[in-house]
């Protein structure tokens, strides 16, 4: 076999790896929830924020971890009652339930209001306009 074909084989493997990358990036958290959980319809909070509700068979931690593995979130947050994942245009709350977990999927604007007691200040500003991000000692570390 000529040596030059090694280059073409490497390029072919590269195309396959790109295909795997595209496959990993396709889909969405909503599609994942539709595949792995049971949709239980839309819901609204007292302030009018809308979310789609799902019931999933796994615990909140396992569900959140599996969803995050399949679709890496830009940000994640925990808040005593469950875990929250932030995506480009949606926010997901994975909450405790008697069996498995209850998942709420909302568009960004609704999600920030819906999950505000848990993500407010971290994924945006607080009611006073501040933020919790950052911290740590000044000048320390390397």
């Amino acid at each position: 076999m000529k040596r030059s074909w090694i280059g073409l084989i490497a390029a072919g493997v590269g195309v396959l790896v790109i295909g795997c990358g595209v496959a990993a990036g396709s889909g969405s958290p909503r599609a994942w929830l539709q595949d792995n959980c049971r949709a239980t319809g839309p819901t609204r909070d007292a302030n009018g924020n809308r979310a789609d509700s799902f019931t999933c068979p796994q615990t909140p931690t396992r569900t959140a971890a599996a969803l995050a593995d399949a679709h890496p979130p830009a940000d994640r947050q925990s808040g005593g009652t469950g875990h929250f994942l932030r995506y480009s245009s949606t926010m997901v709350g994975v909450l405790g339930a008697q069996q498995g977990s209850r998942v709420l999927l909302a568009r960004e604007r609704d999600g920030y209001g819906y999950f505000f007691p848990y993500v407010g200040g971290f994924w945006g500003s607080t009611s006073t306009g501040g933020s919790f991000r950052g911290g740590g000692p000044s000048g320390g570390g390397k």
């Binding site: 590269g14 595209v22 971890a65 005593g80 009652t81 209001g113």
Partner: protein, 229 residues
């Protein structure tokens, strides 16, 4: 030389005010976040009958001194151990070490969960994507908050207590409360390792193919020994 160093250290200790070895202004959590966290822990304590707390210990060799940031469901600065009537406690312990700029050692952080409740351990935090190394980064406050706020969920999942009910905002957030700018494409976030690696393989492979066909690979390999001689 050693005696001089020892005397210098002793003099510095004697001249420093009491408690100056601790960095009083240091806190992993900003005050507002710490208050919110202790409220979450207090609510969990009421629902679950489990007392929660945290203890972040900073060993700062960069600026000197050891300090602690503690809190619990009883409030910011109140250790969970000091609460009366707690038959079951869960405390997140973190040790953060910042080394001096002249040291060869790297900064480090470690996390453990101190509890007698079975099934609650730090592996679950890692499964959630919360790693001790996050405590050394720019988002250290958020990482610290998350690790502690996840504890009531882990306890409920272990079957040791019921879940804390989800609570909606009592009133709509003010207009100042807005989500930060979009965090970027979900597709790129998930696909970039494959795209970058695959792209390098394609470019490298085609490049090698072209160079080998034109004989440039042989020219380079023949030139190499001569250039060394």
């Amino acid at each position: 030389m050693k005696i001089r160093t020892l005397l210098g250290t002793l003099a510095a200790l004697l001249m420093a005010p009491a408690g100056a070895t601790a960095q009083d202004d240091y806190a992993v959590l900003p005050p507002e976040a710490a208050r919110q966290l202790t409220q979450i822990l207090q609510r969990a304590q009421q629902v679950q009958g489990v007392c929660y707390g945290y203890q972040f210990t900073l060993d700062d060799n960069f600026e000197g001194g050891v300090s602690q940031d503690v809190g619990s469901g009883a409030g910011v600065g109140v250790p969970v151990d000091s609460q009366a009537g707690c038959s079951r406690t869960v405390r997140l312990d973190a040790q953060i070490t910042y080394t001096s700029s002249t040291s060869e050692a790297e900064d480090s952080a470690s996390v453990s969960i101190d509890t007698a409740i079975e099934g609650v351990n730090r592996d679950q935090l890692q499964r959630l994507g919360y790693d001790s190394s996050d405590l050394l980064g720019d988002q250290d406050a958020q990482a610290a908050f998350n690790m502690v706020a996840a504890l009531p969920v882990l306890v409920a999942e272990a079957g040791a207590a019921p879940y804390v009910p989800f609570e909606e905002a009592a009133q709509p957030p003010t207009p100042q409360a807005r989500a930060s700018a979009s965090p970027g494409s979900d597709f790129v976030r998930a696909a970039w390792p494959g795209l970058v690696l695959g792209g390098l393989l394609v470019l490298g492979g085609i490049g090698f193919f072209v160079l080998d066909r034109t004989g440039m690979v042989d020219q380079v390999s023949h030139r190499q020994p001569n250039s060394n001689s």
